[in-house]
């Protein structure tokens, strides 16, 4: 079935097989949409490989089990199988490591007129970043 996988906040449409609460994605979709590919040395993306301790959990009937993938990558998974949607969030360790480095994470967001601004575009200036809300 057509499934929406939010990679952090980026929406991806993939074909999934849903079995109750278990969601399986084709290996090609995981490779193309998320960049992770199963190789002899493990699950790899670019130069980085993660050991797969339980291959039978990760790959079922030739497809990638989404919950097993999330666990392997240590990323939080919010899943609504009935709605055909899930969000694979950012790993806490990854966020924490970045913040500990004290290098401000970069981002690009639109202003009220829709014009994009990137934090790193302010290099050379001191920045006071203030998060606020109408609520």
């Amino acid at each position: 079935m057509t499934f929406t996988l939010l990679d952090e906040t980026r929406p991806l449409t993939v074909d999934a097989r849903i079995d109750g609460d278990r969601v399986r994605l084709p290996r090609a979709a995981v490779r193309d949409a998320l960049g992770w590919e199963l190789k002899p040395q493990g699950l790899c993306r670019g130069e980085r490989c993660v050991l797969v301790p339980a291959p039978a959990e990760l790959i079922r009937d030739g497809d990638v089990d989404l919950a097993a993938l999330a666990k392997l990558l240590d990323r939080p998974l919010a899943l609504d199988a009935a709605e055909g949607a899930a969000c694979l969030g950012a790993a806490a360790d990854e966020r924490a490591e970045r913040l500990r480095s004290l290098d401000a994470p970069d981002f690009t967001l639109p202003d009220v007129n829709g014009r994009p601004h990137t934090l790193s575009g302010f290099r050379g200036k001191k920045v006071l970043l203030v998060a606020w809300a109408s609520w």
Partner: protein, 189 residues
């Protein structure tokens, strides 16, 4: 100065931005990307970033005025003075990188799951799947009960008044937990 509105749309943020007649970039973060990247759990949150993109003063509750000081107890003066000293004289708020780190609170796995639930909820809501969205908004709030960007931030989306009754349980739980926001931080100087 760079402001980021953790609002669902530019429409929610715009009246405030226009009233303030801001000259700095006023960004809209409907997906709470910045909240996720910087572990922001309430507003307002101020972060100082230097010319090389380094965090020199991490997340803190900072106010530009004393309009609500009786409610939250944080006077605007000391932070503004320290800010001026930093901008005009380069006075760093902390002596070492480890001092900066000592004031950081890092995200937990539960908090990150809460954010994923929120993102899913928001997506479902925009698809018109309101009941499903509500389940995930509530789940997000259970996972991160003191994250106001989640529990209060979802209120406008869910048709609740963020200034009204829905705020009461959030406030009470937060107060009972000792009002966790960010660790108290003295500006230097």
């Amino acid at each position: 100065m760079l402001t980021v509105a953790l609002d669902r749309s530019a429409d929610d943020a715009r009246p405030w931005i226009e009233a303030a007649k801001t000259t700095h970039p006023s960004l809209v973060d409907s997906e709470h990307v910045v909240a996720d990247l910087f572990r922001i759990v309430n507003v307002p949150t101020g972060i100082w970033i230097d010319e090389r993109g380094r965090i020199v003063r991490p997340n803190d509750a900072v106010f530009g005025t004393d309009t609500f000081v009786e409610m939250h107890g944080i006077a605007s003066g000391p932070h503004l003075e320290a800010l001026r000293a930093w901008v005009t004289a380069g006075a760093a708020p902390f002596a070492t990188a480890d001092d900066v780190r000592a004031h950081q609170v890092l995200p937990t796995a539960e908090e990150q799951l809460a954010r994923a639930e929120f993102t899913l909820a928001w997506h479902l809501h925009r698809r018109g799947r309101i009941e499903a969205a509500e389940r995930h908004f509530l789940r997000a709030g259970e996972l991160a009960p003191h994250d106001w960007t989640i529990r209060r931030g979802s209120m406008p989306i869910r048709g609740l008044d963020p200034m009204g009754e829905a705020l009461i349980p959030l406030w009470n739980e937060w107060a009972a937990a000792g009002m966790p926001y960010y660790p108290p931080m003295k500006p230097r100087g």
